[in-house]
Amino acid sequence: MNLDSEVPAGAIEDKWDKHRFEMKLVNPANKRKFNIIVVGSGLAGAAASATLAELGYNIQCFCFQDSARRAHSIAAQGGINASKNYQNDGDSTFRLFYDTVKGGDFRSREANVYRLAQISVNIIDQCVAQGVPFAREYGGLLANRSFGGAQVSRTFYARGQTGQQLLLGAYQALQRQVAAGKVRMHEFTEMLDIVVIDGQARGIVARDLATGKIYAHVADAVVLATGGYSNIYYLSTNAKGCNVTATWRAHKRGAAFGNPCFTQIHPTCIPQSGDYQSKLTLMSESLRNDGRIWVPTKTGDTRQPGKIPPGERDYYLERLYPSFGNLTPRDVASRRAKEAVDDGRGVGPTANGVYLDFRDAIRRLGADTIAERYGNLFDMYEQITGESPYEVPMRIYPAPHYTMGGLWVDYNLMSTIPGLFVIGEANFSDHGANRLGASALMQGLADGYFILPYTIGDYLAQTKLGPLTADHAAFAEIESDVSDRINRLLSANGTRTVDSFHRELGRVMWDLCGMSRNATGLKEALRRIPELRQEFWNDVKVAGQGDDLNQSLEKAGRVADFFEFAELTCRDALHRDESCGGHFREEYQTDEGEAKRDDEAFAYVAAWEYTGPDSEPRLHKEFLEFEYVELTRRSYK
């Protein structure tokens, strides 16, 4: 397997410019002869589809939602980073680059991250021109805030709905191209497999969710913008439909999977309230700017928070990390919350949370200012819990939120299958072992608007692609694979629902491969997951038929893939004998309980190759070199 990163030579600040010049261009008159499939219509997918269509390519864009506007990017709350330095507080391309590499605990590729920081400024320009209503100051210029552990204010935001507003900008650009006839949208359609012919990605097989019909779609290149796999834990902040199917299917057809065990647990979510719980709700991290996190100093303290005097409160982040305080990065804040709860100091009816308290901020700034900053989040919290954060502290607990791992891609965002590009959260590229707040939106849009449209042209300009129609035998073969699988799911006719299996898998993953992991637990997971998968195929009960709208069947296919993927995730976590970022292996920690990296042995991307249903995946390594950022231990003290 070729893991050449294709990073251009030269100084880091010149690489992207130089590469843009060196890439081959497709003649404007020839662009309309190329057909590109984009799967997913979130920030990355919509931005890529719109931009490629503007350039003249013919695009077919797929999403399983009933409208492109509903992709899960819409739920991002906090903001988007850009090194504009509008606040004159010392930000720069290099600082954003440095923070991202360090925040990712030195497990990302320097050249990619530098490019991301460079492009960040163009994204803000583009979005404002589209009419995205970012927050503004009274002078009419854009407002910024500090977010998620950054010591400069580089985050642009739109109340607590930044993802929604950015996605609507991209969605509107996409709809404009639909009207222009350059994009054909396939909503309510789910990709179920990818078609590789002569080693090149040449199309997909997808199911129309309204009619159940299976169709093959031919293309000259395929782009996956299908998001992350946090729903492997069943309970996560992801939308219910988020799944690993597209990337997992591509993996089984030859695309290497990079760092699957790098999952991010977000520190500020509403704790679970019962067994029926279907998802966890995120409370934006921006709340940590004004909220103070604490638990009682005593274990088993069941007093109401207002009754606990200041001396009996442990503001543990402020205590442990005086310089970053409540703004320590996500992985650190999450782990410390788990520690407090495991220690018996958790709060709330089931003692499964920590307080995020706004009392001091309200005293200092007034309730009106707090309402202006966080009003919609407070309302959402009250809706779910029945408690007002203006009066009692919020209760929060970490929840799976984002996955840094994803399909391995080179500098051109191409996977190990030529012609298969992967963008946004679906790829592994820019966040290393931990993503900083407000960087997901930045990466999705950077990939979609400003990177892929160049690199895909370079591929098309220099690749020989034979003429092809859906009559080719490879399409029929994969269509029949897909149908067989659907029939197997429908005919299992067992006794347990898909959700009950998904919950059980989620529980295993959360307990044994969640916020902290150890070898014994991971081995246990690797024993239980295949058993559970077997039981799933034997005993699952999928209601209804395959030839109409069948949500039970849709879920079954996704959960079947989660079962296979879960094993790879645990295997990756077990092989990485170090702690870094979101991957905390209990055996590898300092005396103070901080993550202990092993750069000698593990400064590489683990790229896994699929070798068949009954054989172990093969590990390939892309070694990471750090020329510009010195490998140091992350310290937020």
Binding site: A50, R69, R70, H72, D125, V128, P133, G139, T281, L549
Partner: protein, 248 residues
């Protein structure tokens, strides 16, 4: 608490459809409305029935996927929330709950509570955008926008495209949906060049899709989970009027 549900069941677009009765037992007040339906569906599946089809995705009130008419109100009895954010503490033990899909000519029923809302996408395609090619934007701070104006544009931009306004309207008009987009873009300096073309084309598209006319009933504003104001409809009407003067 225990509840009795009357749920609209319709096998497909051509089926006539009917209400069916279900008992929801031991419902916790902390459950969301959709979690309550999940539990009903789990039982249905195990008993060999077909689960109730309904749309949902983010379950935090922002994607706009969910939506059903609950006891006659789109998104149910509580103000300013989507169905997924409605919690069972808004109901009492013994309540009977009637659950129906959005009903509008422009929203054909796909199955049970799932309707086809692609007409809303086509209204956006008619002009609900600012034509700006990737890469051609000036520096973001080169376009200062007074905060008051930006805030109103934002209020309009919060529409999630769920379609509750259409479901609430006795004429099944999509006026609030279109007005929100027209106002969002029309208030911003970037949106000026296409302002009048935009409103004319979006209104024409609404009519072509089979949405009804607006008769200032106001039910849309009451049903809107994002509390979008009917003031924006007045803004749309002003722009339509101006368009007739400005455009040839």
């Amino acid at each position: 608490m225990n509840l009795t549900l009357h749920v609209w069941r319709q096998a497909g677009p051509d089926d006539k459809g009917r209400f069916e009765r279900y008992e929801a037992r031991d419902v916790s007040p902390h459950m969301s409305f959709l979690e309550m339906l999940d539990v009903v569906n789990e039982t249905l599946i195990v008993e060999g029935g077909e689960p109730i089809a309904f749309e949902h995705d983010c379950r935090e009130g922002i994607c706009g996927a969910c939506g059903m008419v609950i006891n006659g109100s789109p998104h149910g009895p509580k103000k300013a929330v989507t169905t997924c954010q409605l919690h069972m503490r808004s109901f009492d033990d013994g309540d009977e709950i009637w659950i129906e899909p959005w009903r509008a000519k422009a929203f054909p029923i796909r199955k049970d509570l799932v309707v086809d809302r692609s007409a809303l996408d086509r209204v956006i395609q008619a002009g609900g955008y600012i034509s700006v090619r990737t890469g051609s934007a000036p520096d973001a701070n080169a376009i200062p926008i007074p905060k008051e104006k930006a805030d109103v544009a934002f209020d309009a931009a919060t529409c999630i495209g769920c379609g509750a306004c259409v479901a609430a309207c006795p004429n099944a008009s999509a006026m609030l949906f279109a007005a929100a987009k027209v106002t969002h873009l029309g208030l911003l300096p970037q949106g000026q060049p296409e302002r009048y073309e935009r409103v004319v084309r979006m209104v024409a598209r609404m009519d072509a899709e089979g949405f009804g006319y607006c008769s200032n009933h106001g039910a849309c504003q009451t049903a809107c989970p994002k509390e979008i104001s009917t003031d924006f409809i007045a803004q749309l009407n002003r722009d339509v009027l101006k368009a007739s003067l400005v455009l040839d």
